[in-house]
Amino acid sequence: MTRVLVAEDNATDRLLLARIVEREGYDVITAVDGHEALSRFAEHSPDVILLDAMMPGLDGFEVARYVRANSHADYVPIVFLSSLTGNEWLHRCLDAGGDDFLSKPYNPIVLKAKLQALTRLREQQQQLAVQRLELVRLQSHLLQEQMVAKSVFDNIAHTGKLKGPFVKHLLSPMSVFNGDVLLAAHDPSGDLLVLLGDFTGHGLTAAIGALPLADIFYGMTAKGFNVSDILRESNRKLRVVLPPGYFCCVTMLRLSLRKNTLEYWNGGLPAAILVRHARQSVYEIVSRHLPLGILDDQNFVATTSMVEVEPGDRIVLCTDGLVEVEDSAGTMFGHEQLVDVVRRAPLSMVFETVLAKVQKHMANQARTDDLTLVEVTVLDAVDLDRSGGDSLGISGSPQDWKLSYELGARSLRGFNPLPMLQHILMETPQLRSRASEIYTILAETYSNALEHGVMGLDSSLKDSAEGFATYYARRAKALEGLAGFIRFELSNEIDSSGGVLTLRVTDSGSGFDFRKAARESKNQQSGYHGRGMMLLHELCDEVTYEEPGNSVLVRFKWSADHV
């Protein structure tokens, strides 16, 4: 019930006013002077105060000032009671914190209207105070969440190769996570993989996608997956994780210093610029794909492109925040100017020159939120070794071991055992630098065992284009009704120069005429289907088929200094 304090020294007026207020359904407390008004106020916390201006001792103005000074959060409306007239008095009432006036003789209807209005005012003030508190709470909660997101993200995303000599980068200060992500790591063969991403949105929404993206990138890079695999997996994951309408523009690079190649894929980011040191010419890596998180797996195109590079070449990457930086007149920095600056800059100073030009363009504007600039330098393979690749922690890792793993029909129908086996193999640090060769050996022997051994498909079908389609139609059908098994036997032995990895793959099939196949392979008589066998011979030191042709044994020798 709304409680009204009536402070009035005149007994007649006090009695009358208390009765009027009571009749309107309010709870009434009375005070006969200013001092009593203050003690009643403290005791009963009234919702509205009706206050006589002129009282002996402490007058109404002083009471009002005290109430205002001692109830900031909780707003208590005050009505001054007086037959005083004249602007000077009214000013004094307002200055003391009064909200309204009521003059004598009292009019019950006017008082009723005023009490209703002031009660509403108080309710609104209380709601406002509650909302303000809630807002403060939410704001601090949001800030805390962003700090958590930032720190979690820093731990996951910035543990890669960003400190190495390959990558110079400027990321906006991440007080609020701005949605730009830079990831870099070496794969087992020593290639440098770099991913620059720009999530739609800022803060938590962006961080939500950044975490799995970083996880997938580092995890799959370490296991030797290729760029297309990593992109496809990232796309699949982001499509699940991100809310509708959110996506991530990405440029991904794989720099192979041994082969002097740059493999790239750009989905939605401004063109990256490859600067050739020899001719001081530039090559633009433009976006040819949709960003990650939009297309479903079937429509997603993860096909990469390849270009040759030389030591000394540089690749400049940025997100659209950089090209869209505006000067005081609202003109954007622009891609053409970026290319121009990159082309003219001294090669060793590309990064610094671009940064200086952009900052000059921005002049005094403080908007540095979305500035991300990255420069990747192509180093000599020799420099790479000196810069120290991933250190190989050999102690405490599996060295000499054997493994037998057999898959039954149910498993073979839908399960791909290769990443799991590859993962186990990569637990042995010395094998990591040979990840792609080992993976190829696993993949070839497995597909031979599955398709020809267990399912009995005729590989010569693949010689013609029509047969190729027929082959895969039969393969899909055979998979449904598949019966049999495939057994992997793996062992790794250590010797003085390195070690030997041995793999035997046995299937439940009746075997094939490997002698005939070997002859045809040597005579180059076969097309596609002979390639698998040739590849195995190229990669392995020994390939032996065992009678009745349903088992193959390969030996792969590795040397300890191959890093």
């Binding site: 005149n10 007994a11 007649t12 007026d13 009027i20 009749r23 002129m54 037959s83 004598k104 019950p108």
Partner: protein
């Protein structure tokens, strides 16, 4: 219809106060008599500074109770005292004395 007491105001008070109407009148009679007596005392003792506040208070309660004649004279006393214009105050206090007696008489009959 009296020139001294406003019947409409009294009717309104009766509705508002219900059972408390008589009590209200009694409180007024007691308080206003005391204030009026105090006003005469202040004038004789020369404590003129307090006269403004007391006249103001008396004016307010007289207005509320419907004693319009008393309220009018008390307002005049308050105004002149506030201005420091004391010459006419004695005659106003005499008029107030008469008016109070009449009004009190009429109100007493309602108790």
């Amino acid at each position: 219809m009296s020139d001294h007491v406003d019947d409409e105001v009294l009717q309104g008070l009766r509705e508002i106060m219900e059972d408390g109407f008589t009590e209200l009148l009694e409180v007024f009679l007691r308080e206003s008599a005391a204030q009026h007596a105090q006003l005469q005392t202040l004038w004789r003792s020369g404590d003129r500074a307090t006269i403004v506040g007391l006249a103001h208070s008396l004016k307010g309660s007289c207005a509320n109770i419907g004693a319009k004649g008393c309220a009018g004279i008390a307002a005049e006393v308050e105004k002149l005292a506030h201005q420091g214009n004391w010459d006419e105050v004695p005659s106003l206090l005499q008029a107030l004395d008469l008016e109070m007696k009449v009004a009190h008489g009429e109100l007493s009959r309602l108790c």
